[in-house]
Symmetry: D3
Subunit: 138 residues, 6 copies
């Protein structure tokens, strides 16, 4: 097994705020991240796939195809968007980095299998000091 | 003259949209940056001051004091905020990186003179690929 | 399981020198790292915790709380200190990056369990070219 | 077990082109990477070894020795070279990042065992957006 | 005046070799950079323009337009190319970082004037340790 | 004129403490930087020279020669050293980043003139958030 990673990025607004809670409770738990007028981040997304190199190409997966897949299925839907408002696949969850990473996994995993490889991990940086990794359910 | 730089950061939402223009015109000029539901960035701010090192300290300016100044006068007012809505000193301008950098200069320059040094430049990164520098009016 | 990482840092002096060895033997093994007058580094510390996102918050652990924990229990005790002299929990060991990472694990692991998550790894950069990872005893 | 990583680098030319295929087929699969006059990269190589810290040194492996090993056995043979033409150990394969990482593993693994540690992974960056990891056959 | 910078990149092969010199003389002056089978780099290009922000947009220049200009006029011609062989505008010079930066200036400067701004500098990284800046003839 | 920059680095211990002041006064001014048992940093040093490219080489200065000069005259004397104790050319000054940068200028400037170029600036990073630039007396 070899593991290949492609980095892409998107810039988005969000806020962390539980709609079932009062503004005070949200401030207590989420602090400045709950600012009702939003804030935002430059997100960096690392998608790691695994497989065996194809003897004809030396590739696990064609990087151009992987890059196009991530851009079309993920970045195009998140870039310059509001994660709480503009993104159908995030509609019913709090857009914490954890939850966004899980949703990105769910979108990409079946499509990478179709391409003949396996998704190994989603690593999502919210800032250079905070990031999340998700390896699927198992 | 020696030039000393301190880096700080803030995360904010904004959009680029001229209120005197139609939505179509804004899209034409600003593209996805005009998304009405906002997007956001991890901004990195480099403040450069100049002066002669004090023979007793070896310092142009005390870095701790400079850091506190930048955090209190700038970052606290911009971090986890919406640059179009939440920031009094940006009220009447489009929050392009250029304009935000100029406003930060106007806030910091007189205070750095009071501290016995001179502001040399404001360098503001919107993303790692886009940044602005401002050296004052002269 | 989702893995969440927080980065913090500290700047410290140290030397690598086995007190049971001659100066020559120390030089032979540790080279310039054994300089008797110390040298130092900007250490970068990545603390990774794992758990399931809380449905109310989307969080494995509250990042602010994790950051405060790392700063109070680790960085405050190491930052602007001499790792061989000033740090009680490093008293009886050589402050190699390996050993410092293990000690940081031992300090943080029980406290992160109290916070409802699990420590997954300590990653400690001594320089951008040298770093260590520790995943606990198992 | 503690994991220690050393970063080294090399700058090299290569192209991706299967000699059994027509120029059209190569272009279709490899795109601009198949340019017959080559292109090149600044490769960054992360070598991770694992073991238990030696109680006399605090080290898994002496970093200086590890650095010398990587430079002599790998970087000296790849730096400022053409990966398709100048490197005997890459002679019979396509120099994709995947394949180069596997070959580096094969060179370093037995030598690191001789030094009393184990090779854990080879991580090879072709660009800051594309990298490969290899953990050996098991 | 405000200064706005856009970063782009290209990956290319080259060698440093004066055709009027013997192989020995080239080796003496250029060392491993003269390897006859080429080597290569991930080049990073920073283009800085200056001007006054337009009151309607807050922009010195539209960043999208600047990015498209740099990609079409420079990166497309250099990316995945051999700088000694494949690039008409570098035909008659040694492709040192200095010379490539000057040629990029000559291409971009008149086009940026047409866009209503001025080119201030070309900064070209060959590696993260080596870079060149050019500010034009004056 | 073209400007060429070479980056080198050194790791060192220091403290900021004016020997004419009480421990309290030093703490008041320098805070944790005055810790009597030292602390340390990974310093990054950027040396920028300027000149006209030589038509035979495309170089302002031979980068290998510049790198050797910086390593021998500066890094060898500072790396894995205590800046307050081990470095003759820093003996009579406080080793603030400002003062170290000025001293490095004084060492390198005449030697770069001998090599046929001019020193333009010394940029010295103490941490990624704090750095100093010096352009000489004029």
């Amino acid at each position: 097994m070899v593991y290949l990673t492609r980095k892409e990025h998107f810039n988005a607004a969000h806020k962390l705020s539980n709609p079932n809670w009062s503004e005070e409770k949200n401030w207590e738990v989420f602090g400045k991240c709950s600012n009702k007028n939003w804030h935002g981040h430059n997100y960096e997304l690392y998608v790691t796939v695994k497989g065996k190199p194809n003897p004809d190409t030396g590739f696990i997966i064609n990087l151009k195809d992987l890059s196009v897949l991530i851009r079309e299925e993920v970045c195009l839907k998140l870039d310059h968007k509001n994660l709480n408002v503009d993104v159908p696949f995030l509609n019913d969850i709090l857009p914490s980095t954890e939850n966004v990473a899980i949703k990105i996994w769910e979108i990409l995993s079946p499509k990478i299998i179709e391409m003949g490889a396996q998704l190994h991990s989603i690593k999502l940086y919210e800032t250079e000091s905070n990031f999340v990794e998700y390896f699927g359910e198992n």
